[in-house]
Symmetry: C2
Subunit: 477 residues, 2 copies
Amino acid sequence: MTNLTMLTDLYQLNMMYAYWKSGIADKRVVFDLYFRRPPFGNGYAVCAGLEQALEAVLGLAFTEDDLAYLKSIHPYEEAFLDELRRFRFTGDIWAVPEGTVVFPYEPLLRVEARIFEAQLLETALLNLVNHQTLIATKAARVVEAASGDGVLEFGLRRAQGPDAGLYGARAAYIGGADATSNVLAGKRFGIPVRGTHAHAFVMSFPSELEAFRAFAAAFPDNAVLLVDTYDTLRSGVPNAIRVGQELRARGFDLAGIRLDSGDLAYLSKEARRMLDAAGFTKTRIVASSDLDELLIRDLKVQGAAIDTWGVGTHLITAKDDPALTGVYKLVAEEENGRLIPRIKVSENPAKVTIPGKKKVIRFYDRDTGEALADLIMLHDEPVPTGEPFEIFDPVHPYRRKTLCNYEVRELLVPVVIGGQPVYDLPSLDEVRRYSLEERSRFSPEVRRLVNPHEYPVDLSEALWKLRNRLLLEARGR
Amino acid sequence: MTNLTMLTDLYQLNMMYAYWKSGIADKRVVFDLYFRRPPFGNGYAVCAGLEQALEAVLGLAFTEDDLAYLKSIHPYEEAFLDELRRFRFTGDIWAVPEGTVVFPYEPLLRVEARIFEAQLLETALLNLVNHQTLIATKAARVVEAASGDGVLEFGLRRAQGPDAGLYGARAAYIGGADATSNVLAGKRFGIPVRGTHAHAFVMSFPSELEAFRAFAAAFPDNAVLLVDTYDTLRSGVPNAIRVGQELRARGFDLAGIRLDSGDLAYLSKEARRMLDAAGFTKTRIVASSDLDELLIRDLKVQGAAIDTWGVGTHLITAKDDPALTGVYKLVAEEENGRLIPRIKVSENPAKVTIPGKKKVIRFYDRDTGEALADLIMLHDEPVPTGEPFEIFDPVHPYRRKTLCNYEVRELLVPVVIGGQPVYDLPSLDEVRRYSLEERSRFSPEVRRLVNPHEYPVDLSEALWKLRNRLLLEARGR
């Protein structure tokens, strides 16, 4: 990744300048990065982007070129530019591992550092984590809808720039996609790459049959033929079968056909029938054509004979909800050497922050492994160790539930301590496997695509009381 | 920009391999890049991304590392990898200059090259041009709604990755935004940068007043104070006025205040009244808070006293329509040394291509300068030179209109010839100025935000006849 130091909002630098001039640049603070609402009406989000976020933080360094530019836009004092020249991140970051199922208000990253440093991290962290979490969550929905079928990420041409294609492919893989069309993502991240051919390929040969033969000659053992350039059932599928027979005569088989237009339910069933009748029962049918998770689910309800789903625009842009509105909020600051919880009040209750330096724990059923509830606690509260534990809804505290026979796990782990990386980054395949496994621990009702069951994310009693006290104090201000 | 050679779909490389193995890699072809529908229900799009597209094309070169990776995913023949090793773009590209108002089916880029080369360009060209054209068009709508007020692009933290923020800021500037918060975009592209401060800044001082004083001390001549951390009208605005008075005593003035929540219509009017009453009639009011063009228009209808609009998520992600579905289609290919027009037929009439190597001309009223109509023609047809010229609707040919007293301009200009750049890239400021000027030549009915008038984009008679002939031939196949 290139140096992202300047990938920031000007106001971060301006605040750093004002902190520095006011003599409070070294004050220790805690910021939480979290979101307030899962995208797409989903019941959860899949956290992603941590690896790139850490690269960005550990690589923070202003070049002389950067400083010269800053000098050109505002008469910052030289001593401040010297501070920037010396800038390195020296604080602590705790984070939820990539691929984890996460919920609103849970800190995905917790940054504790000098305010001068913590402030600079905001924009890049939000940019990277918002984007990848969004796409990983969209992919999780597509994978849920495909319920075991293959899912291919095909969206690079519609992605919002090169990085959106590259990191989008990475996030889609974390979310459970099986492969991508993006060669750079394959090379950079080891994601399996897949590709067939385009209509232009067919058109650039004198006939569809000759085009198919040419493609099969180049890829005898894994040709997937696009059959809808002229007429899917009268030309494309019969020609594919003919080339399949020629492949068989040479000891190969026809790997697949691809449908890219028309009524995919009808065409796939007819194509399946024709392929099966010709003995190509193992030839896969790949479909693409402006697909999203709801269309996939609908096609499956109609009995479409589709084995692999190529999903482009809707996945790579998260089309129906293209921004995760993650935020980065001050939750504690040093006063006389101690961290004091801070709250941001708002007329909009959803925008009131949860104060203090916190941790998040997840309760699992000890027998079934099912995720039961999450609890946001103050960082120094003891974690329950198995005794019956009562949780309550922070908005409607009369809604209570006692958990027994559980195991707990802390979601935030240390990733940077004193500016040094302390986290062994898992491989992308490990992240993907972990994410699919973790998701399987949530009930189908939490995972369903429309109107999911609301998974309980409660506050510890101490945190709830702290929040109420600070809210009342703020009101009395 | 980094080398984008591998930023491609695997199927491009696989098609190149099959072309090469079939001995047709050198066949000359023409591809058009165009879109079928303007985004957001807008009446037009603003073309952008050409500069990055040209950088990508002229920088195409496979590294040994790339080739080793390709070898690892498929047993491509060594001689093919040698072809890739030698790969440079040697063809021609004609393009519509950035900032131009463009319409469906008009080629934004026309690539003429060996099919081996033209095919590789597809993904990167679409990625870059789709993205920037999308964001420039969204910005044009926001600027239209702001009708002369300042517009700031503030979206980096919600952009789909670093590039989406960087190139999105560039495209927003082309679309008419006045500045960005993105420091990297400022440095890279010379876009003016702006920034205020966050709520965290206010919270990290013992009081709002002290925070404002600290910020004003750092930025005495351009402080914009965020007034909604605690209570906009009872605390924020009075404190801002107090600090403004202190600034005045030192010979400065209060540059502005920023509203970031609540009822912006009401709060801005009240804040304006309070500022004016205290003599701060020149202090600007900046608003931000999930704004888009329709909300801005609505706030203006309500008489909101807002001078500058900070637009984030909606602009940088094109939230209501986050992908321009540009396509790249084969329109002609060499046969016996001549370019033969090709058509792609589809059951969906919108997906039928316009065959042949083409150019686009725009008619302007000679007196008023108003844009009257566009005409897509075959590349070797003579351009009308002032004689009365009848255009007709290609779908409903009885709808005809005779143009008189016009000037014409060709939209496509040569940018790469024989692989060499031949285009003097205008500066970004020139692009922006040109775009605003060009847009002013379209009637307000074409430019309006909802249900715009459909601007005529017709086919020349020769092109229309060619298309009909090829359609009938394809049907008879």
